[in-house]
């Protein structure tokens, strides 16, 4: 890409969510959201493949619709209450429209249909940015408005997202679509707890970013986009193959890995709020996600010798190093013992 264009895009991509996070006025928050949408659009369409263009159009249309809804909700709020402060949103209609708009932005069920298609149509690095960095701005808006949001609506969105994330990813052979459904499921968990404990939601978000980044860097290193190609990953990176399995189990939320920490704390908080049925349903629905994570791990291991593979063993090119993979993988596996420290830090 032209270095000037690349510089503008990267700077805008970084500044967009930061503007939204640091804003107090709705117009500035909306500006930040629009900047981040516009900045990532050329990144998604970078390779000009018809499917990449399709993914770009889908992303742009959904995000633009959501931004419009956010603007309209803030205008309704300003019209009725006379102020534009993000934290003082008290109009019920505005809150409902805002929740819907942020659900579209994040890809929560039932507004999730764009996410697997967009992630499938674009490159792995852009998919990583879409699932991690682009979630920052809408989640920060949710945290800022959490006292005025409608808890039952958020619980419903969270439950549906966990269900859809689990069900949709079940028999998906394409890795980026699986990561999309995994993202939907994790966001479901985050949304469930946001009105009870925004700090816990932020902790979940940070652990989710760590684990997802580790997984995407692994996918990029393996240069694969189907589960069936994972069958020969042990020939390329035997040690990292094992660590990938641990990262997947961490994403699934199994103890003693990091991913267990947010799920445990969320279930504890829901129980404290006497929401036993919802807590049980969330725990059961995360079993669906566990199933497809286990499936990827299974495919990465079933072709260890003496079994035969269906795929040619991959050539080991000159090392395609991913310097951030090591710290991300370590963090996504080993953070559970320091849970008390993390809770106090937040």
């Amino acid at each position: 890409m032209n270095p000037h264009a690349s510089m503008i895009i990267t700077l805008s991509l970084i500044m967009g969510p930061l503007i939204t996070i640091s804003s107090n006025h709705w117009i500035l928050a909306w500006t930040g959201l629009e900047i981040s949408t516009l900045a990532i659009t050329p990144l998604i369409a970078k390779q000009h493949h018809p499917r990449a263009i399709e993914a770009t159009i889908k992303y742009f249309l959904t995000q633009a619709t959501a931004s419009t809804l956010i603007l309209s909700s803030s205008i309704i709020n300003a019209w009725t209450l006379g102020q534009w402060d993000i934290t003082q949103m008290s109009n019920n209609t505005s809150c409902a429209i805002l929740t819907t708009a942020l659900a579209i932005k994040l890809g929560l069920a039932p507004f999730h249909f764009w996410l697997p298609e967009v992630l499938q149509g674009t490159s792995t690095t852009t998919a990583l940015i879409l699932t991690t960095w682009q979630k920052l701005a809408p989640l920060s808006l949710l945290v800022m408005t959490t006292q005025s949001l409608n808890t039952p609506l958020l619980l419903l969105l969270g439950l549906m997202s966990t269900l859809v994330g689990g069900w949709g990813g079940l028999n998906q052979p394409q890795l980026r679509k699986i990561m999309a459904f995994s993202s939907i499921a994790h966001l479901g968990w985050m949304i469930t707890i946001i009105t009870f404990s925004p700090k816990l939601m932020l902790l979940t978000f940070y652990t989710y970013i760590t684990m997802t980044t580790a997984m995407f860097l692994m996918i990029k290193l393996l240069e694969t986009n189907k589960i069936s190609m994972m069958m020969t990953s042990w020939t390329k990176l035997p040690t990292l193959n094992t660590i990938m399995i641990l990262i997947l189990m961490s994403l699934a939320g199994l103890p003693p890995l990091t991913g267990f920490m947010p799920k445990w704390l969320i279930l504890q908080e829901l129980t404290k709020q006497h929401m036993f049925i919802i807590a049980t349903m969330m725990a059961l629905l995360s079993l669906l996600s566990l199933f497809f994570y286990l499936r990827i791990s299974y495919c990465a291991t079933i072709t260890l010798p003496p079994n035969s593979t269906n795929y040619l063993q991959q050539w080991r090119h000159k090392t395609n190093q991913k310097p951030y993979l090591a710290p991300m993988a370590t963090l996504s596996i080993t953070l559970l013992p320091i849970t008390p420290t993390l809770l106090t830090l937040l």
Binding site: H48, H49, P50, Q120, P173, S228, M231, N310
Partner: protein, 302 residues
Amino acid sequence: MALSFKLLDSVFLSSRCHRQNALHPLLGPLLTDCISKLYSSYRRPGTSPDNTPPWKMNFSFEKGVDGIKKHFGLLKKELVDHWKGPEGYRLEEYFLEQTRVVCEFRSQKELDEWVVSSDAEIGGKSEAYLKLGKNNQTALLYGTLNTEVPRDGETGYSGYCAMRTKLPKGAFDTKKYYDWSNFNSLYLRIRGDGRPWMINIYTNPYFSHQKDDLYNYFMFTRGGPYWQEIKIPFSKFFLSSRGRIQDDQHPLWLDKISTVGFTLGDKVDGPFQLEIDFIGLLNDRAHTEEFAYEKYERNPKV
């Protein structure tokens, strides 16, 4: 909402078929979804535009009920298939398969999944027919090509015929796709008469500005009594749109395939025959090419 359109759709078929009798069996399956039937964009060159007002309809309750039953049945099947495995195959089968037969021709039902068309739609004189071959083991596409241009003041060329699978539809006429990402070649067992055919793969894109995108490659038949087994890697397919090969070439993505078709348009008048035993997919381990055409920037800025 999809249901109301489906009911209207059954209504429209009965109202339009008197006008487009020859065209409807060929055109109907080619339209993407029932909503597009309301805005049917095909106009036979040389005819006046169709101005029937949309409120003229024959309402049919039984068709509506049958439609509801059929679509809920399809929805249930889709959910069960999703649980069973990718595209309804069990996971082990899906990952370990190296070959798959996509189309076999053993009964009229399998022939009904194909649509045959020729330049008769634009007023030409070619004919094309599809029937089961000997012992119901093959499909025979036969007919006559006639390159005489129809005199309607608009058409410049004529003389083609084509055969294409119908667009796969899920429950409530949603688009369904095939995932062929485990394979890298198309395998055809055919017996032709020496004519060159073109194979077209359509990926049924989401947005309408890409609806004419088609991936093509050639199939040269040998003629003669012996069967010909042709392997065409998917990396060889080039992108074209409305018959024009695109400058900006991209490889065919195999995770969302919609239809496969054959076209004959070699500007030679006369009869033709193509007998197809089966169409399959193959994961050719020896084929490592990713894409056969230039991927580098053709006019780099120096």
